[in-house]
Amino acid sequence: MAAVSPVRANALLLGVMGFAQLLLMAASVRGSVVAGGISGAVGHATRPAVVAERSLSGTILAVVHFFGDLNAEEVANAALKREVTRLSGDVERGRERAEENDRLRRLLGMKEDLVPKSIGASVVTAQLGGQSRVIVVDRGSTAGVRADMAVVAWGGAVGRVVSVDRDFARVRLLSDPNSGASGVVARSRAEGMVVGRGGDALEMIYVPKYADVVTGDRVVTSGLDGVFPRGFGIGRVTVVGEPIGASKAIRLEPDVEDRALEEVLILLEPSGTRLLTADDAETRP
């Protein structure tokens, strides 16, 4: 029997490995248990490297922040004092509005959970490449995190959880080209879908061309996608272009800067409007 040449043997090996990985990709798209098992094993094997990296990068960041804070401390204190004064007024006004809102909602026979249950998480690492934009956070299934939970930060919506293991979760950012969230223009209530384009800017699509949208309008989550509760900031309109077909071309500057993310909140329960049940109606004043 003739021996197989190394060139052919390597080409054969490439074919086998390539086919196996194509199957793996197809299985992961379908959410197969096999792909989950293989990915879990890979994650388990690399956990020591990640723990070592976290302590190393934590030390480096602490040193960088220490020197940065020395210079910026006085400026930051003054800015924070101004911010606290402004926010105190906002909280008071917000409380009054919440009470009024609560009364009106009861009149309408609806109920809203205004404070969704959430847990804080630190960002372990981020991948802000062109074709995928994802962050890894240090909370996993042991903390109650599940796939498709919404993730928010100070300022607005961040993304949704796409996969979870014991101690970590991966979050697909709103700026990922395959991401999407339903949004509404706060001023005119024009609805649409906010999608990422792989860069820092977002786009709002499926907005009727006769909708009232102007530069500077604020876009918030509408709650219709079943992931984000309504009212979380998404971004501000920077460009309203010529309509493409029946839809306006709208570009947004996001409220949350992906590069600056360090801490996030994972919303453990979907929060939204639901009709009162018979029990709720009985206890209604």
């Binding site: 390539g18 990709m25 690399t46 190393l56 991948q127 490449g129 074709q131 697909r172 395959n178 860069g199």
Partner: protein, 168 residues
């Protein structure tokens, strides 16, 4: 022993990639540190070992950095390991120019293969800016040339130290 060195190299590259994402997330668009073990093994060892190193480093990258298509980076890096390993066996790429060109080319091909495979699986694609692509290729080429120069020096120092140790 080669397996231990390969695992150590991949582990270091993964740690550096995760640390980069934590310290300077914006830089991850321009630099793919998981390419470095692949290029090192392709230009210094056999085609088969570069395919294996590429496959393992790609799968690790998929686990930590890929939101949907688990296996895409594994497949791409296996193909790149096969291609670069084959070229490395036929041509002398172990000089600055060859290493730089190899590093730049695998980063360019990676971008093209990413787009092709994602389209195959029905994913939406982000437009690629030429400046980003040029910076990525330059960074990839320089890093590959730099790492291979360091690995070459360490290898020479180790082989120079061995006879001495034997004599002692």
């Amino acid at each position: 022993m080669i397996v231990v060195w390969a695992l150590l190299g991949i582990g270091l590259a993964l740690g550096a990639e995760l640390a980069l994402g934590s310290i300077a997330p914006g830089a991850t668009r321009y630099v793919d540190l998981m390419m470095l073990p692949l290029a090192t093994y392709a230009l210094r060892t056999s085609q088969r070992s570069s395919m294996t190193v590429g496959c393992v480093s790609g799968l690790l990258q998929d686990y930590w950095m890929e939101p949907r298509l688990f296996g895409i980076n594994g497949l791409i890096k296996t193909i790149l390991g096969w291609g670069l390993g084959g070229l490395g066996a036929r041509f002398d790429l172990n000089n600055f120019g060859g290493r730089f060109a190899a590093g730049a080319c695998i980063n360019l091909l990676d971008e093209g293969l990413q787009a092709g495979i994602r389209r195959l699986f029905g994913e939406a694609l982000a437009p690629v800016h030429p400046v980003t692509l040029i910076v990525r290729c330059l960074a990839g080429g320089l890093l590959t040339a730099g790492i291979l120069a360091i690995v070459g020096k360490v290898g020479r120092a180790r082989s120079a130290a061995r006879p001495g140790r034997r004599k002692a």
